[in-house]
């Protein structure tokens, strides 16, 4: 195996493992802001208890997210030195700004958020939670700007193979940036909402801490109800941007081989794409649907893969299936929320075991959708590392393959250990349930706090 493939595998493994954690924390931070705001406003002790419980889940994800994230920043230099050298003037400042504006903010106030209960007044604590949440979403701003630039480079001129910046504004706000960023933020919010809802539903089914988990689930479902449907529209918008700027990627996502002329392009629901023979097997499709989606007309032209030479096409099956998994999960989420809406109108949302079971079942899907989406966008960008301008194989470091075999093996072993331990401790934390006993630190005891009532059935 060569350095290119090994380095790509390693980056894929490390990003895929890493993204699980920030996806949850970006969304869960917003959830915690809401819970703490409710605590300050209503002074119901239940919200304090909810915060203390869910912040533990937040902290463990944050820790794993941070340590796995550092490895990504280093890999640009260790494994993709030629790429890094070429794009440094434009991309590196975005990473520097991410650390400066977002990571410091998160890390600085996380200490107060976790350990400051006995030391700062409620308002300062709430402010810290807000700043951590803001920092989390802000880090997405910078990293999505960097990634979007690789998809749709702008604000540069090429001088002897070196990208020189002409406008940072154009480079950051490149054509795919807004849809890219909002799509990722929505993914985080939806994933976190369904994670909390799924966990809560599980304990509601077991009839443990019913009052606690009802409250927890209610806020999560409101979050999901807002963002799950919105994500469909954002996804549609993103599809249009991809179609306009990365037609080869769109064609691979849809396994669309031949450009349709004077007839509608069909939307393929299922197929086995065959790159060698440039066609699909076992195709199930809806006539004209792809044209509708991309051009908003029944016969609109959508560029097919055959327009691109073989060495300029991404891997079609991977792009096609990962996209279908992601989009499918998006629709499952909307369906679950429609169901939730119906149950809510009938006031039966907590008392429908089948619905609660469904929430438990869909709980991990947000993570799978996020990873699938990243596979779609990254594999779909190939063979380019900077779309249309620099090929991935020209971007790697001048190092021996043995280096990467070593580090990749270490990553697999260590991520195995970390992943298993993380799962074990998270599940253990959940099984133990919320701590409803420990006294509230004196500095947090505001006037008019209404303590937990035994009749609440906790």
């Amino acid at each position: 195996m060569d350095v290119v493939l090994l380095s790509r595998l390693q980056f894929a493994l490390t990003t895929a493992f890493h993204i699980i954690f920030p996806t949850l924390t970006i969304g869960l931070a917003i959830y915690l802001v809401v819970v703490e705001l409710l605590w300050l406003k209503t002074r119901l002790e239940i919200y304090y208890r909810m915060y203390r419980f869910w912040v533990k889940i937040f902290a463990i994800h944050f820790a794993v997210g941070v340590v796995t994230g550092i490895t990504l920043e280093f890999q640009f230099g260790t494994n993709f030195a030629r790429f890094s050298q070429a794009v440094a003037n434009i991309m590196a400042p975005l990473l520097a700004y991410e650390a400066m504006t977002a990571f410091f903010l998160e890390a600085g106030f996380l200490g107060i958020m976790l350990f400051g209960w006995k030391r700062v007044p409620p308002v300062i604590h709430f402010l810290s939670t807000c700043l951590v949440a803001f920092g989390a979403s802000l880090s997405a701003f910078w990293i999505m700007a960097a990634n979007a630039w690789m998809q749709t480079p702008a604000g540069y001129e090429l001088v002897d193979g070196q990208f020189m910046v002409t406008s940072f504004k154009d480079a950051i706000f490149n054509p795919s940036f807004s849809s890219h960023l909002i799509h990722m933020l929505m993914a985080s919010y939806v994933t976190a909402a369904f994670a909390v809802a799924g966990i809560s539903a599980y304990f509601l089914l077991k009839k443990q801490h019913v009052f606690f988990y009802r409250k927890s689930m209610a806020i999560a479902l409101i979050m999901a109800a807002l963002f799950a449907p919105l994500q469909i529209f954002v996804g549609d918008w993103k599809g249009l941007v991809v179609a306009e700027h990365q037609p080869a990627k769109l064609a691979a996502m849809e396994a669309h081989w031949e450009t349709n002329r004077d007839q509608g392009a069909a939307l393929i629901l299922f197929a086995i794409p065959d790159m060698k023979n440039e066609k699909n097997h076992f195709e199930i499709s809806i006539d004209n649907m792809l044209s509708w989606l991309i051009t908003r007309s029944s016969h609109g032209e959508v560029k097919g893969l055959l327009e691109f030479t073989k060495d300029e096409r991404p891997n079609v099956p991977i792009t096609f299936f990962s996209f279908r998994i992601m989009a499918g999960i998006g629709f499952i989420f909307v369906f679950v929320m429609l169901w939730a809406g119906v149950l809510w109108l009938r006031k039966k949302i907590y008392d429908t075991p089948l619905f609660l079971k469904a929430l438990v079942a869909v709980q991990p899907l947000g993570f799978i959708a996020t990873i699938s989406g990243w596979i779609t966008t990254e594999v779909g960008r190939q063979p380019w590392v900077v779309y249309g301008l620099m090929r991935t194989e020209d971007g790697v470091s001048p190092i021996a393959a043995g280096n990467v075999i070593w580090s990749l093996s270490m990553f697999m072993i260590f991520f195995g250990i970390i992943g298993a331990s993380y799962m074990y401790y998270t599940l253990r934390m959940l099984r133990r349930g919320p701590d409803l006993e420990s006294p509230i630190p004196p500095i947090q005891r505001m006037a008019g706090v209404r303590p937990l009532q035994s009749e609440n059935g906790i």
Binding site: V64, V67, A92, P93, M100, L114
Partner: protein
């Protein structure tokens, strides 16, 4: 001062901030096996639990800032030092998760080991990186042109051992500020032995470095550097003597600050040996620097955002000021 010099200063500042801040966090991990019981380990953990992540963030910013301001240092160094850098990262991974995992397990011994091991491996990785960086890197046409194990030499191994002693000194002197009783008393002894080891290694490095590379000797004693370069060893010697004295007088705060000065003296001496090169023996800071527009763009951030970062970092230390107890090791 031109933009390139301003940036080499700023990158240097960020790196030394990282070395000091994460140095004491890692150092406390290095001292973990000397704790006598779980409660003592809890206390040691508690002394850094609210701040370690912010400390570690300096290397994330350092990496980004180096990449942005001197991309050639970043790309050449990171390719050349592939194995030491990943060693460092693997250490950081275990160090970081240990805070959360250790608090949630029955079997604390396992994550005590991971915490110590992570800190040790991370420190050794950093030391090898530093040693190899001083030793120079083979380059060709602006890229790395050496082998996978070029970084490994008796000198780089010695620097790694020296850094272990250095971080132990920072860790022990930080514990003096944050702890009481047994942990603090032991930290006094640990700081004493560590500072002796550090002084020994600093002398060895100071002799070995110019012996290895006579060009370094020439740079130290070139005009105008020769007029002020002697202040760095002087600063080192004064700090060393004062640390010994203040440890003897059982001062709790000053040994930590003096240890930082000791680090600073070594760091400035090394910088004076390398300047005006970014990567020895061939790449100068001007060749390594990024496009002017890029340097200016990040300078805005450093000018306006970094002071705010420093302000809330100080605020956070102020919130958690004073001695810690075992129960503060987990939230």
């Amino acid at each position: 001062m031109d933009l390139v010099h301003l940036w080499i200063f700023l990158v240097g500042l960020v790196i030394i901030l990282y070395v000091v801040l994460d140095g004491f966090s890692l150092g406390i991990g290095l001292l973990f096996p000397f704790a006598e019981n779980e409660e003592e380990r809890d206390v040691m953990m508690a002394s850094i639990a609210p701040v370690w992540d912010a400390n570690q963030t300096w290397i994330v910013f350092g990496g980004g800032a180096l990449f942005a301001s001197f991309p050639k240092i970043y790309t050449i160094l990171f390719s050349a030092l592939y194995i030491p850098l990943f060693t460092f990262l693997f250490g950081l991974i275990f160090r970081g998760v240990a805070f959360e995992f250790r608090a949630n397990t029955q079997d604390k011994a396992k994550w005590n080991g991971a915490f110590f091991g992570g800190c040790l491996v991370a420190t050794i990785g950093q030391g090898l990186t530093l040693g190899a960086y001083i030793s120079g890197i083979r380059t060709d046409e602006g890229g790395f042109a050496g082998g996978a194990f070029d970084w490994l030499s008796p000198f780089s191994v010695m620097v790694a051992v020296a850094l272990v002693a250095g971080y132990m000194l920072l860790g022990a002197t930080y514990l003096l500020i944050k702890t009481t009783g047994n942990v603090r008393d032991r930290a006094f002894r640990q700081a004493f032995y560590a500072v002796l080891a550090v002084a020994f290694f600093m002398i060895v490095v100071s002799i070995w470095t110019p012996y290895k590379d006579p060009a370094i000797w020439a740079r130290w004693f070139s005009e105008p550097r020769v007029y002020w370069v002697w202040t760095f060893p002087l600063l080192g010697i004064i700090s060393f003597i004062l640390i010994l004295d203040h440890l003897k007088k059982r001062q709790e705060l000053s040994p930590f600050i003096l240890s930082i000065l000791l680090f600073l003296s070594a760091y400035l001496g090394l910088q004076a040996a390398i300047y005006p090169y970014a990567i020895l023996p061939d790449v100068t800071i001007y060749e390594a620097a990024a496009q002017r527009e890029t340097l200016i763009f990040i300078l805005w951030g450093v000018a306006f955002i970094l002071p705010v970062v420093l302000a809330y970092t100080i605020y956070s230390y102020w919130v958690f000021k004073g001695k810690v107890t075992a129960e503060e090791s987990y939230h």
